[in-house]
């Protein structure tokens, strides 16, 4: 269980500043959601945190230990793992083997990894799919598989990138309960989400980004009333109307 801290993260792609001065602190047993309109730079933040991109400015640390210079593999070993927004299963392999790949990080052998993988899939209620090729799964199951792979690595901090995307309401409900369960176990969870209802139900803290910059942070209650946030999502006129209505 670890605290993930980001400070002043900035990333430029040529003339475009995708992320500017993003910072937050995600603590164990807490769920932090990062929300914002499309193109706000949310996935870029995850890419910076996990080492797939190098920040132009700013830093990130895990339990006070700086992450700068560490490869994605090294960060995963340190306990920071992410899921991908566009899921990345190992299509030709079975569901079990997919999760084994994740479990191999901490397991001493393939045999041990299989046991861990089995346990994780049981938690996610996916035992019936053990031998199914990952490439043939529908999107809901792929999302759960993505979660299973990440969990199998035994993480301290879990970054979930739009895990609700494409799920039907009953699947969303299941996923919300599951993520809450992870939080209660003491994991640090950072979530990128568009599904507003899920965000409101899950989050202890919310960070709102627009055009790469943080525009608000706070609890779900605070954020849902924040005029700047409302303006960003629904347009400036709504904010005024909203204010008037409050």
């Amino acid at each position: 269980m670890a605290t993930l801290k980001a400070e002043g993260l900035t990333k430029r792609f040529g003339g475009l500043t995708a992320v500017r001065d993003v910072g937050f602190e995600a603590r164990p047993g807490e769920i932090l959601s990062i929300i914002g309109p499309n193109g706000a730079g949310k996935t870029t933040v995850f890419n910076l945190l996990t080492g797939f991109l190098r920040p132009d400015e700013g830093s990130a640390s895990l339990d006070g230990k700086p992450l700068a210079g560490l490869s994605p593999e090294a960060r995963c070993e340190a306990g920071l793992v992410r899921t991908f927004q566009i899921v990345q299963p190992f299509k030709g392999l079975s569901v079990l083997d997919n999760v084994v790949m994740g479990a191999m990080l901490r397991a001493g052998s393939v045999k041990a990894a299989r046991i861990v993988a089995h346990r994780v899939l049981e938690e996610l209620d996916m035992l019936s799919l053990l031998d199914t090729p990952a490439g043939s799964l529908p999107i809901g199951d792929r999302k759960r598989l993505e979660m299973a792979k990440a969990l199998a690595t035994g993480p301290k901090v879990l970054l979930l990138d739009e895990v609700m995307g494409g799920l039907i309401p009953v699947e969303v409900k299941r996923m919300i309960a599951f993520i809450k369960g992870l939080r209660d176990r003491g994991l640090t969870v950072v979530v990128i989400e568009h599904h507003m209802s899920a965000v409101m139900q899950l989050s202890d803290q919310i960070l709102v980004l627009q055009n790469g910059q943080p525009i608000a942070t706070g609890t779900p209650a605070e954020i849902s009333r924040n005029p700047v946030v409302l303006a960003a999502y629904l347009g400036p006129n709504f904010a005024l109307a909203g204010e008037a209505a409050c």
């Binding site: 593999e73 992410r82 991908f84 084994v100 393939v110 690595t153």
Partner: protein, 327 residues
């Protein structure tokens, strides 16, 4: 490629039977000519198994593997001729040189797109060949080097050619076991993960780059030992016989024909390819140089174009995995 089931013991009887059959071959084909064919096919099988570890399992297509074969042959031979060091020790020197060179090549190119790695192996192969030809004082140049016929275990020279066949078979068996052990281990899984989706693999903490480099270096060392065996069998080496582009192609050919990402594929492929080449030599003789190579390369092209799925299960699975030609 679905990694093998946890219980390997159940599937061991088939390879055991296969190796028993192979062990009988040298006794059955006792005539010098046929024994030579068997021995060469064993050396070829071991070499192709070595190539396949990197080319088939890891998907790192080396077109210059003959260079490592040649380095092994020349290292042990030179140490023996110039310093009196037994090939039993010299072969490890060759293996070490090969492993280090391969690791260096891999370290530079494996971060980049596949084509760069392939090009670099081709370039490396060409350079080693040319170096061997040009360093006449050391390597004897195009004339090559001859090893005196002084049979002894220490010299790794045997009076009875039968011994070579069994040494070679021993190497094949060792490489086969090593291949299967690696495939079932975390390393094998890591390679599969890399081939399926490198980014996803790295996000799960799998250090794909060091593993790939390591496997390539291991593969180079393994084929290096085969080069030494070749030198000791023929008692003569020259750049064209141990370092040529044709040899690099043959290694890959054997693996492709037999089954690219499998452990038994290179063995079957080697037996087939060697038999065919001997048959061709028997019927056509050496009248037209390069005829076997024309046939081999023609076969590779024809097979790859016509029936990639028919090439042995691994290539078929590769195709399947890439959504077979229909993107």
């Amino acid at each position: 490629m679905s990694p093998p089931a946890p219980t390997i013991a159940g599937t061991l009887w088939r390879p055991a039977l296969g190796f028993a059959a192979l062990a009988l071959l040298p006794l059955v084909f006792r005539e010098p000519f046929t024994l030579g064919m068997v021995t060469l096919s064993f050396i070829g099988a071991a070499s192709s198994l070595a190539w396949n570890l990197s080319g088939g399992y890891a998907g790192q297509l080396s077109l210059g593997h003959a260079a490592f074969f040649g380095i092994g042959a020349y290292a042990s031979t030179l140490l023996f001729l110039k310093a009196g060091i037994s090939p039993l020790i010299g072969m490890w020197a060759g293996a070490a040189i090969s492993a280090v060179s391969a690791a260096a090549l891999g370290a530079i190119t494996m971060r980049l797109k596949g084509s760069f790695f392939v090009m670099s192996t081709l370039a490396f192969g060409a350079v080693v060949h040319i170096t061997a030809v040009n360093l006449r004082d050391v390597t004897g140049g195009s004339s090559g080097l001859a090893i005196p016929l002084q049979p002894s275990l220490g010299n790794l020279v045997f009076a009875d050619k039968l011994a070579y066949a069994y040494v070679a078979l021993g190497l094949v068996a060792a490489y086969y076991v090593l291949t299967r052990a690696l495939a079932a281990s975390k390393i094998g899984y890591a390679l599969v993960a890399f081939r399926e989706n490198d980014d996803a693999a790295r996000a799960l903490g799998i250090r794909t780059l060091p593993v790939r480099i390591g496997i390539f270096a291991l593969s180079a060392a393994m084929i290096s030992l085969c080069g030494t065996l070749h030198a000791q069998y023929f008692l003569y080496i020259d750049p064209d016989s141990v370092m040529s582009l044709n040899l690099s192609l043959n290694l890959a050919l054997m693996a492709i024909v037999g089954g690219l990402g499998t452990a038994h594929g290179p063995i079957i492929g080697a037996m087939l390819v060697t038999a065919v080449s001997f048959a061709m030599q028997a019927y056509l003789g050496n009248q037209i140089s390069g005829l076997t190579q024309i046939a081999y390369s023609g076969i590779v092209i024809a097979v790859l174009l016509a029936a990639p799925a028919g090439l042995g299960p691994a290539l078929g699975r590769l195709v399947q995995r890439r959504l077979a030609w229909q993107r």
